[in-house]
Amino acid sequence: MVLRIARKEATEMLRDGRFRWAVGIVFILLVGAFLAGWKHYADVETQRMAAQEADREIWLTQGEKNQHSAAHFGTYAFKPTMPLTALDQGVLPYTGVSVFMEAHSVKDAAFRPAEDATTVQRLGSLTAASTLQLLVPLLLILLAFSAFAGERDQGTLRQILSLGVPRSTLAFGKALGVASPLMLLILPATVLGVAALVLLAGPGSPMWSLGRAALLVGVYVVYFVIIIMLSLVVSARASSSRTALVALLGFWLLTSFIVPRLVTDAAEAIHPTPTSIAFRDSVRAGLTALPSWSDRVAEIETRLMDEHEVESPEAIPASVAGYALFEAERDETDVRRAHMAALGHRYEQQKTATEFGAVLSPLLAVQLLSMGVAGSDYAHHRHFADAAEEYRYDYVQVLNQDMIDQNAGWDFTVDRAMWEQIPPFDYTSPTAGWATRHYGLSLLVLVFWAAMLLFVTPIAIRQMNVA
């Protein structure tokens, strides 16, 4: 019986020209957005690999120089992106693409692509994710709003129920009927997308995982189920199909455009981001609290004079500069990392507040989860920036240690053999599990929405007015 009802609903929709048009347009947008996203991803990845390789060559061929000069000459880490970012760009346009790694500096990545984009970008960007997050739910609402309310308006609801069909069967059939024509849209798109990813990215691609793709599909399926159930509840309770439509469109509008802005405003108000000046001043204050360069050198000279039992600094048979640089780098890095970590923690708090806000809008949870799983969220960015920072500190200290080992002064120089001892920057992206754990709360909120509707839907259907 369920299948029969579903078939009737689906046939009715498929016969409706407006529906065919709508699905066609959404399908074209989805595929087009994915292709554009893919092209962008492929372009950027090609450029990144070339840049990373070129930078290694520049590092190796920098010529003969002092170790510390090389630490200032520095090297770049370029942020890799995952194939799934072709679906969801997330915050990639608003985070930098490269970290300059040099002595005495802990930096976030620079060059945000959005700085080179036009103002229209701020009106919203068309990606496969935004199509799935905004347009598909709208389509679902338009399909489902009249499920009960429409039948009631026409007086057919009483007729159907008089046949003895259990209400739950009817509801299930209607839900399936709404979902199945949509499969026409989602299935080919998914197959096409996965095939493209497997063929084009290849299993050897740096950060590609089928697990992530499966997770992404799961998140969207749960979201669509939530929208279908909500539409059925509203349709069952609304006085007319017109009221049902207005209520559902209002929900869509609020949760898509208004709540996300209000929630992020609130998150920012509860956990304010420091201004750039306040941040800079607090880093400076931390650095000023450290011993000054001359004090540090004097202290090291005294220590080394004692150690080597000599009378004057000139007689020290060790690299005072090497020791001073090594220790200064260690202390400064501690201060700078602590401030960067505090800022990262602040963003993390804002993210958690936003996740709580998803109670008001399931879209927020989906948005966060989608970019998290695709690898285009801030957490992945931070993971990369942290890896670059680890690498920076290690290589700078290898150079400083070399000054100590070689008893080097400021005019001591080393050559390519030394540069080759520093391994190239090799970044391993986090696993799908890591990404998901990061959004546990969003997952929970999404499940809460689904569970709540699973609980409410049967009640609403049971109590539905027949006329």
Binding site: A54, T118, S241, P260, R261, A267, Y347
Partner: protein, 478 residues
């Protein structure tokens, strides 16, 4: 007759809760957006003022030190206009170490639209080597917030204002047609066009009054410092953009039998014009004219820096070849400042084509969007609003050009000083190239907006005319 209809419609709207509710929601939205905008603009103003003040203080401090050093030298009987080593008295101190910090102060209407001000640098340090961005108010903004966007007045007017219009105007006459009331009304000596016009006018007056009052209050709270003209233009854009949506509502109303159908059609129009088409234009522009990733730029910069560093002497020789007006200095006599100038010039020359490629691609995108923007009134309105708030493309482009001009002047002023190696005297501090950014006048902005706004007026007029003809030909008895 129109007067009677206006009076009746006003009464009807008052009696019906929706009008009051819509007006209340509209005012609340404007109030919240104004609050967000004012807070943001105040913070930005404070950060920029701090940058400017800290710079002025630092320069004054160094100058004071130089004055004291000179007083000491005079006491010792030493000559002041001699060659100097790198240090406080060397021109390098001001030319390269300190440079000039310049700030782009928010315009009078900046609380109305955050625009690009949270992405583009508003404070820069210009030195011999180029310009570097200093942190602005929003430079540490959470990237997710940047993605979601700000709840500012531009958002309220571009996104939500049309919805409020549609909520009030859908089913303009269709609901009376559906209930059969329209026949009774038209039995009176009144034409359907007059009736529709009256209905539109009452709603327009209500919403426009809210816009005037709401934004006027926000403007007053900001202190209005010279923003009156821009505010009036803002209202003009609101009027024209709102006019488009009203004309569209009338157009749809004149062709549908049932208000629900009309509502759906209008909702789809909103979705297309405000959400889908702008996003589509954006993705097409960035796919057709992709701006290369800055990674490529970084690599080019690195290669040139490395080459220039390794060939310091050759760069210097090349530099003297290019600048015969400067007295040549042997490589072993050249100080750090001179080598640096030669190196920077070489890097800049090598990077010029890369920079040009970026600029050209960005210009193509902008041009593309300017032409395709006509497909979506929302894009036109957004561009106009940002322009009025001084947070749009045009102002940042003009600012960048002025910064580049200052950089050129700065080099022209300091290069001879570096190579002469003479002391930078206290009086020289007053002679360094000044930064003057002449902001767009309200008339300039109006000129830029004239084309798009005229187009919008023409489209609305066309829709209105078609609706008018349709109304005149409507037969009530089917």
């Amino acid at each position: 007759m129109l007067k009677t209809i206006l009076r009746f419609e006003a009464k009807l709207l008052r009696a019906d809760g929706t009008a009051l509710l819509t007006a209340g929601v509209f005012l609340a939205l404007i109030g919240y957006a104004g609050y967000v905008g004012i807070q943001y603009a105040d913070e930005q103003q404070a950060v920029l003022e701090t940058h400017a003040a800290q710079y002025a203080e630092r320069i004054a401090g160094i100058r004071q030190e130089v004055v004291e050093m000179e007083a000491e030298m005079i006491r010792k009987g030493e000559a002041l206009d001699t060659k100097v080593e790198l240090g406080r008295r060397h021109p390098y101190m001001v030319g390269s170490a300190q440079g000039r910090v310049i700030t782009l102060m928010p315009g009078p209407l900046s609380p109305f639209a955050v625009g690009q001000s949270d992405l583009q640098p508003n404070a820069l340090r210009v030195t011999m080597g180029g310009s570097q961005a200093l942190g602005g108010a929003a430079s540490l903004e959470n990237p997710f917030k940047l993605l979601v966007g700000h709840f500012d007045l531009a958002f309220v007017f571009v996104f939500l204002f049309p919805l409020l219009i549609l909520a009030l105007t859908f089913g303009l006459t269709a609901s009376e047609r559906e209930t059969g009331l329209l026949r009774m009304v038209l039995a009176q000596p009144v034409r359907l066009t007059t009736l529709a016009a009256g209905k539109v006018m009452v709603r327009a007056v209500l919403l426009f009054a809210c816009a005037v009052l709401g934004t006027g209050a926000v403007l007053l709270m900001t202190g209005a410092n010279g923003g009156g003209g821009r505010w009036l233009l803002w209202l003009l854009v609101v009027f024209i953009y709102g006019g488009f949506w009203m004309a569209l509502a009338a157009f749809v109303d004149s062709r549908v039998q049932r208000p629900v159908t009309g509502g759906l059609v209008l909702a789809v129009c909103w979705l297309a014009f405000v959400v889908v088409i702008p996003a589509l234009i954006n993705v097409v522009a960035s796919t057709l004219y992709p701006v290369p990733s800055r990674m490529e730029y970084v690599t080019a910069m690195r290669t040139e820096t490395s080459v220039a560093q390794q060939q310091g002497a050759a760069s210097l020789a090349q530099f003297f070849d290019d600048h015969p007006e400067l007295a040549s200095v042997e490589a072993d006599e050249a100080d750090y400042a001179m080598l640096r100038v030669a190196r920077d010039e070489r890097i800049a020359e090598a990077l010029a084509p890369v920079e040009a490629r970026f600029a050209a691609q960005k210009a193509r995108q902008q041009q593309f969007i300017r032409s395709l923007g006509y497909l979506s009134p929302a894009v036109l309105a957004q561009q106009a609003f940002l322009d009025l708030a001084d947070t749009g493309h045009a102002r940042y482009a003009a600012f960048t050009a002025t910064v580049e001009a200052l950089h050129t002047d700065w080099k022209a002023y300091f290069v001879p000083k570096y190579f002469a190696g003479l002391a930078f005297r206290p009086s020289d501090y007053d002679a360094v190239p000044a930064f003057t950014f002449s902001d767009f006048s309200t008339v300039d902005v109006l000129k830029r907006m004239a084309g798009p706004l005229t187009a919008l007026v023409l489209i609305s007029a066309l829709l209105g005319m078609v609706a008018y003809r349709r109304y005149t030909r409507t037969t009530l008895i089917a």
